[in-house]
Amino acid sequence: MNSQLPFLIRVALRLFIPSSRREEVEGDVLELARARAALLGPWHARRRCWRDVVSVIWHRGHLRDRRALRSPRAHASAGTTLLNALAELRYAARSLAKRPGYTAVAAFTLALGIGSNVAIFTILNAVLLRPLPFPDSERIVDVRHHAPGLNMPEVQSSPGLIAQYRVNARTLATVAGYHIRQFNLTGGGAPERVRAVVATPDLFSVLAVTPALGRVFYESDAIPHARRTTVLTHQLWQSRFGGDPGVVGRTVELDGQATEVVGVMPRGFVFPDPDTRLFVPLLLERQAAFGALGMSSIARLRSGVTIEAARREIAQLQQRIPEWFPDITPEVMAGFGWSSAVERLRDRVVANISTTLWVLFATVGLVLLIAGANVANLFLVRAESRQREVALRCALGASRTRVATTFLAESLVLAVLGGLGGLLLAEIGTRLLVAYGPPRLPRLHEVRMDTTAFAFSAGLSLLSAMVLGTLPTLTTARRSFTALLRDGGRGSTAGRARHRIRQLLIVTQVAMAVVLLVGSGLMLRSVVRLNAVDPGFQVDGLLTAGISLGTGNSREQAVAIYRRMLDEMAGVPGVTAVGAATTLPVAATGLTGSNFAIRSRPAAGADVALFSMYTAVTEGYFETLGVPIVEGRAPDWADTEHGRSVAWVNRAFARQFLDNRAIGEWIQIQETWLEIVGVVGDLKTSGLREEARPMAYLPLGNRAVGLDVMHAVIRSSGDPAALARSLRAAVDRVNPSIPLTSTRTMEDLVSASLAQTMFAMSLLGLASCIALLLGVVGLYGVVSYIVSQRAPEIGVRLALGARPLSVCLMVVRQGLVVAIAGVIVGTAAAWASMRLMASMLFDVSARDPATYAAVGVLLIAVSVCAAYVPARRAARIDPLVALREAC
């Protein structure tokens, strides 16, 4: 600020101060600035300097252009146009400040609309639109397979396939495989159960990330008998090692095996979700067998290759599977319904949530439109009351543009207020959504308000300002001022054209409210249906807890430990039943599935894919859950301890594979022949939405099922949540070093599986309530306004003997016609658009007639109520007063 004013200040002065006055003003500002810089220091001086400039610009209406004084027809420069605009803005701000009620209602309505849009947009942008935080992430693809014939929720890929793609797929630069598993982490702190990604070393080159410390895996880390290594996430490094930079080279124990920490990933690196704590190398042999399905595979496209090309190539490679893996014949593949899919990793990550988010975005878009329509109505009414002022200004020579600018300025001020309020609401809303949104919403940790969100809200504000501001111009500025003077005077009813526009706005509002209400009505019905779904067991009073023993015990030892723990738990006061299984119903993780054979039908394998999920159970498991034993007997400890070759199957299994005659049949799972000794009721395995899948249950200890982790289910007479502490104590009596993980009530698990649906339903419900409210207020406002405009006419009618009831009906009818029109349009729109929501619904058609009818009736009823209030007022008009006021 030594010899010159800061650039921005010079620009501001140049824009707003007439050139004939600029020299003195600049001189004064500079002189003040220098005097202050010596006194206050540069920062305060600069702030004060801006205050000077703003004050000068604010009062610049008095700074007449001296040349203009001399020659009245001085040409309007860009500067003076801006000056005019600024004067209008100031005038608008003042006149709005004089009507705080109107301003508050209009700005708040806009803020509601803009805020909800920005909030949802922020999440949509973070989750769906922004690329994943990896270099060149659009080239990272997820390769998976579908096999509906397998009755397995997720087929993904297999080690053998990944090894073959590495060699044969030319469109893919690198292919990595990984799966998720839990480890017991010991050494350097308390034992901890951690979620690990077991990945081929090239996972990091597919993601193209480098570690913050140390290194990632070499191929040599993934050979048999190599020294065990691990890479930590930033999160684990901080929480367990306090961010110690010397952690690289240290040894920890994973499931009791000494493992060397070789690297730490940078902060913000998340794969595949924020729950991952560390990475472990996965050995993948070059000539691997087909192996177990369920391994995920991601790949990086070779540069210049499109995803379509990769899709085509992978689809073609499927035909070579029988050649690579002789045991998988084309017939087996056809039985599986085998197919492949290549998708961008981002699309895969967000696949489940994307429809919900887009529907929510459309929803809040409609809310904004409704809010906008309401404000537009308020605005029109206000514009009308300014008719005389406008007419006068026109008569005195104001140009149309000038008059239009007046309205634009007011709408701009309103919209800016609304936009600022909206940003505030969006900030709050986003936090609430992140805090209370579905816990499994992917990429939630990336959500934050950013410049895109700001730009988005600024855009929305400007757009609404433009629409609002031009609306009265369309209806009033077009007409001649003589007409305005005549029409704007007292004693005549308002022009029909303006009524028409307002009614049209209401029709749109009602229609949009109908669409939203139908949407939330359908969601509500889905949730009701979902809650009515029988999960196959008794949810109330159940507590679940994970017990992770880890590896390193013999089978017999592990079984003994589990039995002792369950016995201890059963001894806790209040506990009525206890059992355990390797997977839990509803929120199944770590489901295993396999081909199997049936001894009595050796030929069945050729045309039907014999594939079932299976899990190991203990005595008391079915009893604790409340699953009925339909036929045969329940499992007991003797089955486990004597290693009996027995199995149980569910009804779906018996129906699908054994024509409902399962008892006494022998099935072969993972090389072992087992006799079916019982049939149990169907359980929902992963979520309430799906049909029951065939399921086999083996006694705990069977070699087909691992023993490193079990999930106990505990039924108690008291509050299950209060039981957790006594359970921990019970486990400690057996072995205090065994972690008891994720103690949750079964109700929690069930509601977590409904979280996304509930989330969508509550937001849709909230949005449609707002829509209904705004719509009703709008309708009420318009009918009231029409009544007030028609007061003289109604007065004449009443004076001439019209009955108050008929006047009342007349007014209600006027509101009703608008509402019915809105309902018809809205129903048609909903009919056309609801199928977009189909995937979010459960057991309800997107064109469910009951919902549509209920919404229509509701809206018409509410509209009648909204019209009835002003109608009563109309019926009570005193003819004398009305006529006196009219004349």
Binding site: S3, E24, E31, A35, D52, S55, V56, W58, H59, R60
Partner: protein
């Protein structure tokens, strides 16, 4: 006549211009106002007041010299016109009359 009415800030600004004599320009007027009238005044408000005074023909103005601390930009110097001085005196007389009335009223209590 309505144009001859003096607003409060206008009155103070006009007084300051008279008091400053030959050194009356924007910044100087603002400084003096802040110092003697003990109230912070925005530069823009000072301009507005001076402009109104000039329009009421209580002030005249013209370019003065340029000083280095102004980056070589000239000042607009203000001077009170006889009409302005008369208006100030009128205001003062009015006030004095009113004060006499006030004091008379207090004295008779």
């Amino acid at each position: 006549m309505k144009a001859e009415h003096l607003g409060e800030l206008e009155e103070l600004a006009l007084l300051v211009v008279v008091a400053l004599g030959t050194d009356a320009y924007g910044v100087a007027v603002q400084r003096r106002l802040e110092r003697d009238a003990r109230r912070p005044v925005a530069l823009g408000a000072v301009y507005a007041a001076l402009e109104r005074l000039e329009r009421k023909r209580f002030l005249t103005s013209g370019f003065g010299e340029a000083t280095p601390e102004r980056g070589g930009r000239r000042k607009r110097m203000f001077a009170a016109t006889p009409t302005g001085l008369r208006a100030l005196r009128d205001v003062r007389r009015t006030r004095e009359r009113l004060w006499q009335a006030v004091e008379a009223a207090e004295g008779s209590k």
